[in-house]
Amino acid sequence: MGLWLLILIPILAAPLAWMGQQWSRHAPRWIVLGALAIDFVLVLLLGGQHSTVQSSGHGAWLVESHTSWIPRWGISLHLGLDGLSVVLILLTVFVGIVATIASWTEIQSRVGLFHCNVLFALGGVIGVFLAIDLFLFFFFWELMLIPMYLLIVIWGHAARRHASFKFFLFTQAGSLVLLVGIVALALLHQQATGRPSFDYADLMGLTLTSEMARWLMLAFLIGFLVKLPAPPFHTWLPDTYAEAPTGATIILAGILAKTGAYGLLRFTLPLFPEALSEFAPIAMGLGVVGILYAAVLACAQTDIKRLVAYSSISHMGFILLGAFAGTELALQGVMMQMVAHGLSTGGLFLLAGALEERYQTRDMRQMGGLWSVTPRLATMALFFACASLGLPGLANFIGEFLVLFGSYATQPVMIILASLGMVMAAIYSLGMMQRTFFGRQQDTRTAPDLSNVAFGTLLFIAGLQIWLGLYPMAVLTTTKPVMEQLVQHALVSANPTHLPSEPLLSSHIVTSQGSTP
């Protein structure tokens, strides 16, 4: 029941936020903050309750809820919470709060409807992170799309129509391919056992012929890569991020991109371990291409939001790289990168939105020398630029480092290439700082500096970045059991003969640092 509350609180608060518009201008915003705060506490309660329980083997969840839904198809309302979902839901709720604060001054028309959509989208995302019935997962996966689409198309900037269409068509095309994969998997279960099932645990036990597994894996992969996004499915992203209102961009970059990564970790990796071991070099190659290609494009951008958008694709490349490396270290890095990227892009887009609000442009050529005008904004931008370029001591560094370190053993050449991405991140991040805040001032208008609320929020995110940068175990210990299982499952399926020797290779971060070649 607690799990359903997590999803239902935002969804039930959504109509309330819409109606709240009548009471006061800020009522919808407070309703969003309130609902998210309750959710936040609830996740901590649910996740913290069982933190001592070491879960092992798939299907062992911290909290689980199971009700029959459509027995005809073996579909059930099956939710499960484990370390992976706890971290991601906390991130979702936090990014949701940041997005609400970011739109505090930007959204002035139809405030109620805006926040109604925000809550629906967040409810859908939380559902995605909890659902362990594939049909239910897909249900939520699609549910978050329409509110996001409305957020872009109603409150977006000039080219919003085009951007929103691109966003919707790309993600929907990917989703439909995913749906076919899911349906085929359920029907294969029917062929094997006589009844269709969409349940995670049932499907995990399914043995597939290698050709079938390859096709299904591809279907799952396409669905998730579009959302991630990885090239060649990334073209919707820059337009969408640039044209969406700041709040929606923060949600898109901070959480929606993570749903793709989550799908990879939760479904693609465990369901098709054999097919993946063949496909891993290609997927990792795509990751490297994404890192480098997006970094090069980011260097060439003049639009500040597009720059951050391309940097986002580049960072997502690390996630793809790490997810397919097949070591626990890399998977932990992926986890860290998801959280860190959620925080740092949240901050960067908030700042970009603040700049846009002040100067009515996103063109960095028209900015410059703003340090003296808006010192607070500039300081925070410098901090988040450093976070994004992977400065040691901040969370992004841990993520990228672990990914690179954990996958070096399998693909050394690719990792060397991928490390170049970190160098280029320094180029575009500092270039952005240079063009925006240093140099000669182009626009002599004075603009107000960051408000106390926004500044406080950014300071808080910065604090989190430093905390996770210095003490990454906060995230890593929570997700460790899940990642261990993932690696073990993959290894067991790939070579069932030697069980105990290989998984130990990277069972513990501290020891593995010594033992990884």
Partner: protein
């Protein structure tokens, strides 16, 4: 005929009797509201006899008709849809029909068309098939041209008449050929003779294909779709709704029975024909819908595409296919009623509102109406929480189960294309309000009261169906499974 036969046949007898009553009531005294209520109640009472008839089902009443779960389910669908359409028609006719005489026969014709539809759902014989087909077609033809002083409805009526005649001609010749080769007129006996043949005679196959072309013409499958957009656009909007839902559902019920009893899906040429029709319908419908600036035409092309999806489900064969087809048809009827219902209600204010521009920013001025249209569009596009998603899921599942990978891929590609035009209309609803609509009441002096209770109730009913089926489809699935097993049982049972 014994009592059980009468019980089984009670829905059809009931509606026939009520049609007569309505006709007499019109002859006795003309009153638009009273006749509308009378027609509505006729359908309601007929609907109420369905559970009673179900006690006697499955039962073959004479050789002409079979009343079984399948027929009763489709009857329920047809009658409910007709009731919604009658509720929506009243205000529309009040607004559109200026002549004060002769509006009442509209309801009589509607009842007769529904009567034809009921006959089609039960037809198990060439004669009852043809009778139902013609009754439905002829009534619709006069309904389309009912607004006889306008140009568009008349044009549409003539087109529909030509279509109807062509379809009937194909059908009659095809049935004659089938009879010539197999010497039987009931679906079942024809099916038996098919099973006995080593190879199917060419003439028989030709006859079957002619019959299927006749059906395809009525369903508006491409390349037999030419009439659809023009008739949809020209006909009064409630009648457009009727053609899109009731008429197609009835023909689909018949096709399903024909397919099961004669076993036509085991014949490779028919499978090829249907695959071709499915792909061509999906592609033609969706691609041409992209170009439309008129909401009714857009929905017309989208309906062509939707029947392409239904064919994909049908081609899967077996009980799963019958289940998927029935589910999809029910869902399709609900969402089409929703979409056209909004156009009807919106057009009831004065003048047809069927251009896309008319819907610009509707959400900001009429949130409920626009919300209803948005819901229907999302359902047509197959987005979760709506019934359309479960329908599409069913079609994909049936296709995947039967291993029709290419058709499933075509379905997916087409769904993506279809998103584009549904979204275009969807976005328009949320666009900026255009200048004329922003003008104060000065221009639209004395705007007619725009929402009436029948409209609210019927649209609310459709919306709740779309949402409930989208969230909790299990009860309907069970109902359909029973009806399908019924259909297959009757097919297998009789000697």
């Amino acid at each position: 005929m014994i009592l059980q036969d009468f019980i089984a046949l009670s829905p059809i007898l009931d509606l026939g009797a009520f049609s007569l009553v309505t006709m007499l009531a019109i002859a006795f005294r003309r009153n638009h509201a009273r006749i509308a209520v009378c027609a509505f109640m006729s359908c309601l009472f007929t609907l109420a006899t369905l559970p009673w008839a179900a006690t006697a089902a499955p039962r073959a009443v004479t050789t002409l008709l079979v009343v079984d779960g399948h027929a009763l389910l489709y009857m329920g669908l047809i009658l409910s849809a007709t009731m919604v359409i009658i509720a929506l028609s009243y205000r529309y006719l009040n607004c559109q029909f200026h002549e004060q005489e002769g509006v009442e026969e509209y309801y009589l014709l509607l009842l007769l068309a529904t009567f034809g539809g009921l006959v089609l759902t039960t037809a198990a014989h060439f004669v009852s098939f043809f009778l139902g087909f013609e009754l439905l077609g002829l009534s619709l033809c006069s309904l389309i041209g009912y607004l006889r002083t306008r140009r568009n409805p008349l044009e549409a009526a003539v087109k529909y008449l030509l279509l109807s005649i062509t379809a009937s001609a194909f059908l009659l010749f095809g049935l004659a050929l089938l009879y010539f080769e197999s010497g039987a007129m009931t679906f079942h006996e024809v099916g038996v003779s098919v099973k006995q043949w080593q190879t199917v005679p060419a003439l028989w196959l030709g006859g079957l294909i002619l019959v299927l072309v006749g059906i395809a013409l009525k369903l508006g499958l491409a390349p037999f779709h030419m009439w659809i957009p023009d008739v949809y656009q020209g006909a009064p909007t409630p009648i457009t709704t009727y053609i899109a839902t009731v008429s197609k559902a009835a023909v689909m019920a018949l096709l399903l029975r024909l397919a099961t009893e004669v076993g036509i899906l085991e014949l490779p040429p028919v499978v090829h024909l249907f695959s071709l029709l499915a792909v061509v319908s999906m592609v033609t419908g969706n691609v041409l819908a992209l170009l439309q600036q008129n909401v009714k035409r857009l929905l017309a092309y989208s309906s062509i595409a939707h029947f392409g999806y239904v064919l994909v489900a049908l081609l899967a064969g077996g009980p799963a296919a019958a289940e998927a087809v029935t589910f999809y048809v029910i869902v399709y009827c609900a969402m089409t009623l929703g979409a056209f219902g909004v156009v009807t209600v919106y057009s009831s204010e004065g003048g047809d509102k069927d251009r896309v521009e008319d819907y610009q920013g509707l959400f900001w001025t009429r949130p409920w109406l626009a919300g209803m249209l948005a819901l229907s569009l999302l359902s047509l596009a197959g987005i979760p929480v709506t019934a359309g998603f479960i329908g599409k899921f069913y079609a994909i599942a049936a296709g995947v189960d039967a291993g029709l990978w290419w058709l499933v891929l075509a379905l997916i590609a087409n769904s993506v294309v279809s998103l584009y035009y549904y979204l275009r209309l969807f976005v328009t609803l949320f666009g900026e309000v255009t200048a004329p609509a922003m003008l104060p009441e000065a221009q639209t002096v004395q705007r007619p009261e725009f929402f009436s209770w029948p409209a609210i109730c019927s649209l609310g009913f459709v919306a709740s169906i779309i949402l409930v089926l989208g969230v909790y489809p299990e009860p309907l699935i069970q109902l359909i499974r029973e009806s399908v097993s019924n259909l297959l049982m009757v097919a297998a049972q009789r000697p």
